[in-house]
């Protein structure tokens, strides 16, 4: 097990190294140079280049950049001068995390209920309904869903505010928009898992022992169907990261996603690259946790 975890961590570091290198070379390929202001005299420009280490050979810059990365220093924002990127990201992180966690909890609960009903009432209207919800939920993207929710629940029915982030009320629609994908993924997954488990011999045995239907479902079917749910952890994280970019933009939520999109518009390169690193670390950690849980649950994977 220790060996397995060590391998996974090694891969994780490899991935981080690749991403950090890619962001570095992308930042070198970006059009234009900093300090392109005509008012600067050549001497001042030279001094500025010297100050930021831009006059040094590429490999020295690269080494310095990687060293800073390793210490968690993502540089300063180009747009909001002098503000460290990492600090700005961490300031906004709680907002994004709140909306995301709320969406995942809500999505998990609804998705589980929907999936369980569909499996227990296999081949009935309920089952069909759940499958339709699952397909539509996966197919309708957040940037369509968000405006629809804004229009109907926000403008027409006036139930929730459609923008900004001032109270819990404001977080309902963004979380709801994010949760639909979670609902459909979880429902679909639990449904197929349960259908498979319900056909297993040990379930027949449990029934033959005289256990009540509820006990069989709760203790045997559900428990065994939940374990593989670990596999959706990484896809869900990817989804949440991209989802926040869109949802926060639509609902004007001051989170990381909104900041990232704004930084793209104002060409705040250090912010773009810093946020990329942050998202990547976030995703890689999710992947690592998923892989380790995998190994814990299914020992065969560790040997492989």
């Amino acid at each position: 097990m220790i060996r397995y975890v060590a391998t996974r961590v090694a891969y994780m570091l490899g991935t981080l190294f690749v991403i950090a290198s890619v962001t570095f070379f992308i930042s070198k390929m970006l059009p234009g140079t900093p300090f392109a202001d005509d008012k600067l005299t050549p001497q001042i420009r030279e001094q500025l280049f010297e100050k930021y280490g831009l006059d040094e050979p590429l490999y020295v810059q690269y080494a310095k950049y990687m060293l800073n990365m390793a210490q968690g220093d993502l540089g300063n924002s180009f747009y909001f001068e002098g503000r460290p990127v990492l600090q700005m990201i961490l300031e906004r992180f709680p907002v994004s995390a709140f909306i995301g966690v709320q969406a995942v909890i809500f999505g998990l609960v609804v998705g589980l209920v929907l999936g369980i009903i569909a499996a227990l009432r296999h081949n009935t209207v309920w089952d069909t309904l759940a499958v339709v919800v699952a397909v539509v939920g996966v197919s309708v993207p957040t940037f369509v869903l968000g405006p629809i929710l804004q229009y109907w629940l926000g403008l027409k029915l006036g139930l929730f505010p459609i923008a900004f982030f001032e109270s819990w009320h404001h977080s309902v629609l963004p979380s709801l928009a994010l949760s639909v994908f979670v609902i459909s993924t979880v429902a679909r997954f639990i449904r197929t898992e349960m259908l498979e488990v319900m056909g297993q011999d040990y379930v027949t045995l449990a029934r033959a022992k005289g256990l009540s239907g509820l006990a069989v479902i709760l203790r045997h079917v559900l428990r065994n169907s939940l374990i593989p749910l670990v596999t959706v952890l990484a896809p869900l994280t990817i989804y949440l990261v991209t989802g926040t970019l869109i949802v926060e933009q639509i609902f004007a939520v001051p989170g990381i996603g909104e900041q990232f999109v704004t930084s793209v518009f104002v060409s705040d390169y250090s912010m773009i690259l810093g946020t990329t690193m942050f998202f990547s670390v976030f995703f890689i950690l999710a992947l690592l946790i998923q892989d380790i849980l995998y190994g814990v649950i299914d020992p065969r994977i560790r040997v492989h």
Partner: protein, 310 residues
């Protein structure tokens, strides 16, 4: 346990002459893999309807849409901004008075172009990488797999965003940005299939008849891997459509005056309060495409690989 009946004497029985042709006929015409798959797919109503809808959408985007209206998707006329859907403008007009009907189909066209280009690139990279890795095996495979493990952790949309920050946005560059980031999964599938096939008897037979490595891969191993490749491709297309719309939505995709479904949805969302029809039409088409490709992909998976069905 034999019982004898007096009225049935042996001389009443004779052997029936069955020609060789006759015995063969019982089996019916041989059904190949593709025919068999098609029969299975035909039974799947959802997939079949989706296939029909996809064909119709293609026809609308490439042929009917542009021909059905005398309007141009790019002509601006400020005198007719924001007209509601009417006889002249079936989907209304946008903030510059451009006809939305032709604009939506032009956008669909761009989205489909990008999705297919990206999917092709994805397939090319994934199949090449997977075939080389799986067929050669050994140390080469080891190295290539380590690379895959590392690339697997890279969140692909974020990389696509970075790529778009450097490139000038256009159909080709967007396709490349999406295509170069999504091929890892395809490579894994093809590699697995190669490893599984290359030691089977038909490969051995071909090899002992003197077939070269490339012939073996092209003539035997790849054709036998087509099923999984097609299934994967069917799921790559909707995710490429999504990725393009996503990039356009955050302003990194197709630039005005060109349109894609993503940019139209993005524009529509900003006018939602007063002119919601600008959002509804492109969104509806977009969702229809996504749903159909997903259902078609599910259907094809069940049809081409019945073992994976559940």
């Amino acid at each position: 346990m034999e019982t004898q009946r007096r009225d049935l004497t042996p001389d009443l029985f004779g052997s029936l002459e069955v020609g060789e042709q006759e015995t063969e006929r019982i089996a019916g015409p041989p059904v190949g893999f593709w025919k068999d798959s098609w029969i299975r797919l035909r039974k799947n109503r959802g997939a079949l309807i989706s296939l029909a809808v996809v064909v119709i959408l293609f026809a609308m985007a490439f042929v009917v849409g542009p021909l059905s209206s005398s309007q141009s998707p790019y002509t601006q006329d400020l005198a007719r901004r924001y007209t509601e859907p009417s006889v002249n403008f079936w989907f209304g007009t946008d903030e510059f008075g451009r006809d939305m009907w032709t604009r939506v189909w032009a956008g669909t066209r761009v989205s489909l172009y990008i999705a297919f280009l990206a999917a092709l690139l994805d397939m090319f990279l994934g199949v090449t990488f997977g075939a080389v890795s799986g067929f050669l095996g050994g140390r080469v495979d080891d190295v290539m797999q380590r690379l895959i493990e590392i690339l697997n952790g890279v969140p692909y949309l974020v990389v696509a965003i970075l790529a778009m920050v450097i490139f000038d946005p256009g159909i080709i560059t967007i396709s490349i940005a999406i295509g170069i980031t999504g091929w890892v999964y395809m490579a894994r599938i093809v590699r697995g299939r190669m490893m599984q096939l290359k030691d089977q008897e038909f490969a051995l037979a071909s090899r002992s008849l003197g077939a070269s490595g490339s012939r073996l891969v092209w003539k035997h191993l790849l054709p036998n891997s087509l099923g999984p490749i097609i299934i994967n491709l069917m799921f790559t297309i909707p995710s490429a459509i999504f990725a393009e719309a996503f990039l356009s939505f955050i302003g990194l995709g197709i630039q005005v005056p060109e349109a894609s479904l993503g940019s139209l949805i993005s524009d529509g969302a900003s006018q939602l309060r007063f002119y919601p029809f600008l959002l509804w039409f492109p969104s509806a088409i977009f969702c229809l495409i996504m749903i159909c490709f997903n259902l078609l992909g599910d259907g094809l998976r069940d049809a081409l690989d019945p073992k994976m069905r559940n």
